[in-house]
Amino acid sequence: MAVLTYREALNRAMTEEMEKDPNIFLMGEEVGHYEGAYKVSQGMLAKFGERRIIDTPISENGFAGVGIGAAMVGLRPIIEFMTWNFSLVAIDQIINSAAKMNYMSAGQFPIPIVFRGAGGAGGRLAAQHSQSFESWYAHIPGLKVLAPYTPSDAYGLLKTSIRDNNPTIFIESEVLYGSKGEVPDGEFLIPMGKSDIKREGTQLTIISWSRALMYVLPAAEKLAKEGISVEVLDLRSIRPLDEEGILASVRKTNRALIVEEGWNVAGFGAQVAYLIQKEAFDYLDSPVERITQEDVPMPYAANLEKSSLPSEDKIIKKVREMIK
């Protein structure tokens, strides 16, 4: 089994898919000659040429629309947003065109497109470059939303996204690109709507995804040393959501804590909490809890940034309260 970085795993997934299907192309700012702002597309221009690895000017609304138009006539674009923060100027295209085209046209025009790029909080990038948008996109019927944590998941889910006939929002974590992990040799796909238990436990389930797992997993480790057994469920796929997987784990542990990097108000964790209270109410030994980014734009100062995000300490404290 090879050990790959998160960015190498994404690169491998795209490269393999593009080798198979000439209808797939990669388009975005700096994806070609610069080889990706985060080097995800390293080596791809040399391999596929300018016809299929296309540098764009800074115009997200424009090239998001170009991708959707190309998908209307059967191409399968991968559109890279340098960061998801810039997707906001393309949000009309993503919501009003990509998500709704198949519905509005009664199935005549499916949009097989992947929008992908760096997302999430952190890195002292301040308010406009440091935020999580999973909840925003998960709100929209017609979109699928994925946020992998490990290189292996990144590989398997990106391949599935590229083959899916619907618009997929694939949010990579900016701070995970260099993280390493084992990726099985040979091709494999990970289905959407299937969560993964990253750690087994018996007393409480922490439901999380993407970069927030960086805090959750070490916290669970420390709690284990205190004798508190925490199960960690990585959603990976926000929409479709693995409702059965969530409920099975909560019915086993009888407690649920949702840890997310996005804001609290109308955040995706609220949807998960609703699901749990509705379908597993009788199993709960304590109220469902959430730990989120604080309800502020991201500050720049190192201490303030840190204090606004979920952390190991916050998680450990909350779990202890819930277990009491």
Binding site: F25, R51, T56, P57, S59, N61, G62, F63, A64, G65, V66, G67, I68, G69, A70, A71, M72, V73, G74, L75, V89, D92, Q93, N96, S97, M101, N102, Y103, M104, S105, A106, G107, Q108, F109, P110, I111, P112, P141, G142, K144, R163, D164, N165, N166
Partner: protein
Amino acid sequence: MSQPKTKKETEDLLELYRQMLLIRRFEEASAKAYSMGKIGGFCHLYIGQEAVGVGAISALEQKDYIVSTYRDHGHALARGLEPKALMAELFGKRTGIVSGNGGSMHFFDKKKNFMGGHGIVGGHISLAAGIAYASKYREDGAVTLCFFGEGAANIGSFHEGMNLAAIWKLPLVMICENNHYAMGTPEYRALSVKDVSVRAAAYDIARDHIEGDEVRKVREHVKVAVERARRGEGPTLMEISTYRFRGHSMSDPAKYRTKEELEKYKQGDPLIKAEKDLLAAGWAQEELTKMDEIILKTVEESVDFAEKSEEPPLGWLYKHVYAENV
């Protein structure tokens, strides 16, 4: 453009006139049905602008693509979409062109490369660039025609779409149907230029500007742009000046303009112009009246069909939210 000289030219104009008349009668029937509460939502009529859609679309081949706006009835009929299916769509019936999922602003017909009526002003311009991009990618020789209003010429998507089409030399013809009002705002209060097509200079692409009252003239000019696109010489930005005789939508009484202004423009009604030319070329009035009767019957049948069709079954509510993966 002078009146037709040969028999072939006359017959050609007759066919274009027939298409314009179909649009006019279809729209009049739509207005009536709307006022009776049978059509819901927004309903933007094309009355007065027929020469633009018919002229431009007649310059295309079947393999070419059309991207339209929320004012899409005329473009759809000019492309040969079935009036019955369009009327049924307006009525929100299962027999509609998109099964009642779209309504007035969202006609689509894949078989005819009719790539949709799109409801967000200007949002569709970059989609059109994307369809043209795919033609370039595949080298299929198709051209994409994109209609939009002068109001859309101020939106970001217009400028981004133009720039991308220009740098990639996409086979795209952009037609600004300038009807002088973006809803109730006259062009001089919203546009920094008097002629949208001069904005082509900013992107170093070809431009054209014409009056849109003569259907054959429209086709001739659009053809030049289409051929340029097909030769791989890139996009063209055209402004075709026109006028809508009705309000922005059915809910707009158009009080922002004077009766005199409307009357002035009605003198330039493209249907009257075409009719005069046909009569001058020796076509009998009775023939034209007979044509009108046939068209009226077609439209009546489409209303009847829409009326009698069933609403979509409730079980279709979730159909098509996601495409199947096969």
